[in-house]
């Protein structure tokens, strides 16, 4: 065994997310860290991953570091197809063909609902009112949350981001839990995991409430509970998640050329 590896929490989060993605799947990534997680999977254990971005860049792998956006020339440089949003988010996601998506979150709640629209002081109330802080909005994440067979939420683990109930649902998880998502009739199955800078949460069968499935080697059940805004329960088989292997870390860093995940 090698000596303890030096890696950041963000790198652990990206690797844990990448491990969720299987070879041969049709996958859609957003920009930023979720894209690094996806391309890490491709470089590490999923060489036949069929990747796309929501604007319709297919078959590309980033050159020169983290793309500034999904239309960045760092991706355009080796794409095999340029299509459109209707093609990517419509024909390949809303249709139900996409296996897995990765999205980010400013806030996520115990049923995996995601807010990327805004921060309000308290509840919004019965009238719409402008947020204190306007965030990017739903983007393509709502479409992925409704259409992909499963999706993974990747988010920094902080109490303010982990709420009992999302202030504004930009992208639906299991809504009010139980069968409430099923009633909407979405073609997509819902969130399969929330992967954070501290550990992994997964939905409990039937209630669809997210419970702690595992903690990272540098973290603990106590630390995760303290950073979660609801009374987080721990799955009976919860365990410590394996640290990144040397190969995993090397593959991630090949993709993350500019070190976006190494900033502590």
């Amino acid at each position: 065994m090698s000596a303890a590896l030096d890696y950041t929490r963000q790198e652990m989060m990206a690797i844990a997310t990448g491990r969720e993605i299987r070879d041969g799947e049709l996958a859609i990534f957003g920009v930023g860290l979720s894209m690094l997680a996806g391309f890490f999977a491709q470089a590490n254990h999923a060489p036949n991953l069929r990747s796309m971005t929501e604007g319709g860049v297919y078959g590309a792998t980033p050159v020169g570091g983290l793309p500034w956006g999904i239309e960045c020339n760092r991706l355009a440089v080796n794409a095999t197809s340029f299509t459109s949003a209707l093609d990517a988010l419509g024909f390949l996601v809303a249709s139900g063909r996409c296996d897995v998506g990765v999205i980010g979150a400013a806030q996520v709640d115990k049923f995996g609902n995601v807010n990327t629209t805004g921060v309000w002081d308290g509840e919004i109330g019965p009238h719409y009112r402008a947020p204190k802080t306007r965030l990017p909005g739903a983007g393509g994440a709502n479409d992925i949350a409704c259409g992909a067979k499963r999706f993974i939420v990747m988010v920094t683990h902080e109490p303010k981001r982990f709420a009992e109930k999302a202030t504004y649902i930009s992208s639906p998880g299991y809504l009010d839990g139980g069968l409430s998502r099923a009633k909407q009739g979405f073609v997509g199955g819902g969130p399969s995991a929330i992967i954070t800078t501290l550990g992994i949460l997964r939905p409990e069968p039937d209630t669809n409430e997210f419970v702690l499935d595992g903690w990272f080697p540098f973290s603990s059940v106590e630390e995760i509970k303290a950073n979660t805004g609801w009374a987080l329960r721990v799955a009976p088989d919860a365990r410590e998640i394996a640290a990144p292997s040397e190969t995993e870390l090397a593959n991630l860093r090949k993709v993350d050329e500019t070190g976006a995940l190494r900033k502590k």
Partner: protein
């Protein structure tokens, strides 16, 4: 077929007015977009714009910061890895601009619905979330019934939603190549430019380069925007700056951050408009403003090979100027 090349100033004079529904926002936040048209809208002091942007980038960020847009509908409203859109945020948070929140697919589908003249578009996304329940345009309507109303699928009996189609008054669409008649080739992803070009009542193309019609006849399959739906063509190199145009130039990292920082305050916005909106009089002085060294660096893109098949048909700036002049004389 007719020569539709006109100057930028003429295009904005002829195809924009206060209070109109103005559509742009070609490829997601850092990609190809007709940002130069937005700069000219400010130079000609257009106001009260209802912006329809598939995704917002620096153009809506600027129009919002300057107070020229008072309503906006869009999907993603930030600058991706560059950060939140400070100008747009400021306008939304202060209540100066009502921003209606949709997803990226919803915007495309609404443009498709407009293009097909459908009464509504069935919505299987955006339903069941606050995108359906809350409306910035009708704040008292909660849970909103006017934004994405529930409808019954007549075949399955299931409840789904209905999107309202979009038919913007004018779309300014950035394209890589166009001939003088308005046949356009787009390098990079289209996002929703195909749907937008059919949904808008008037279409103005902003092209990085003008090509001979022989180029169009060589690649007719690649012409996703045909001349028969185009009203005007404007030649303006680096029209998407500081965004990128795949095959032609990279994103200007330095200016992206600089511009977004400036738009975070009233004073910064005023200074930005003085220095980067009012501070040029033609294409040459615009390129000087960006900086000739910068132009050289941004043009040395790893993606330049994408332009290679078309280079032999690209007209010189002199040729383009004479074609444009002829139009003005006519």
């Amino acid at each position: 077929m007719s020569n539709k090349l006109i100057s930028l100033a003429e295009a904005v004079r002829r195809f924009s007015w206060d209070g109109m529904q103005y559509a742009s926002g070609a490829a997601l936040p850092i990609g190809s977009d007709a940002i130069i048209f937005g700069r000219e809208l400010l130079r000609q002091k257009r106001k009260d714009l209802h912006a329809i942007f598939h995704c917002s980038g620096q153009q809506l960020n600027l129009l919002a910061a300057a107070g020229a847009a008072t309503k906006a509908e869009c999907g993603f409203a930030a600058l991706e890895v560059v950060g939140f859109a400070n100008g747009l945020r400021r306008a939304v948070e202060s209540g100066r601009l009502a921003l209606e929140d949709f997803s990226n697919l919803a915007m495309t589908l609404r443009l498709l619905g407009g293009a097909l003249n459908w009464p509504f578009v069935p919505a299987t996304v955006n339903i069941g979330s606050d995108l359906q329940d809350r409306s910035a345009f009708s704040p008292d309507d909660y849970p909103a019934r006017s934004k994405i109303p529930a409808v019954i699928d007549p075949f399955s009996g299931k409840t789904i939603g209905a999107f309202c189609p979009l038919k913007p008054d004018v779309a300014a669409i950035h394209v890589t190549l166009a001939d003088a008649n308005g046949n356009a080739i787009l390098i990079g992803t289209e996002w929703s430019r195909y749907e937008l070009s059919r949904a808008a009542k008037k279409v103005v193309l902003i092209a990085d380069a003008i090509v001979d019609p022989a180029c169009i006849r060589q690649f007719p399959n690649l012409v996703r925007i045909p001349d028969i739906i185009v009203d005007a063509v404007v030649y303006w190199p680096f029209g998407a700056w500081p965004h990128s145009s795949p095959g032609v130039y990279d994103m200007d990292e330095e200016h992206m951050f600089f511009m977004n920082k400036a738009l975070a305050s009233e004073q910064g916005t005023a200074d930005y408009i003085r220095d980067f909106v009012q501070n040029y009089s033609d294409i040459e002085s615009y390129l000087d403003m960006i900086g000739r060294d910068k132009i050289k660096t941004l043009s040395a893109s790893n993606s330049s090979f994408l332009l290679d098949p078309y280079r032999r048909w690209i007209l010189t700036p002199q040729d383009v100027a004479s074609l444009t002049a002829r139009d003005l004389a006519a």
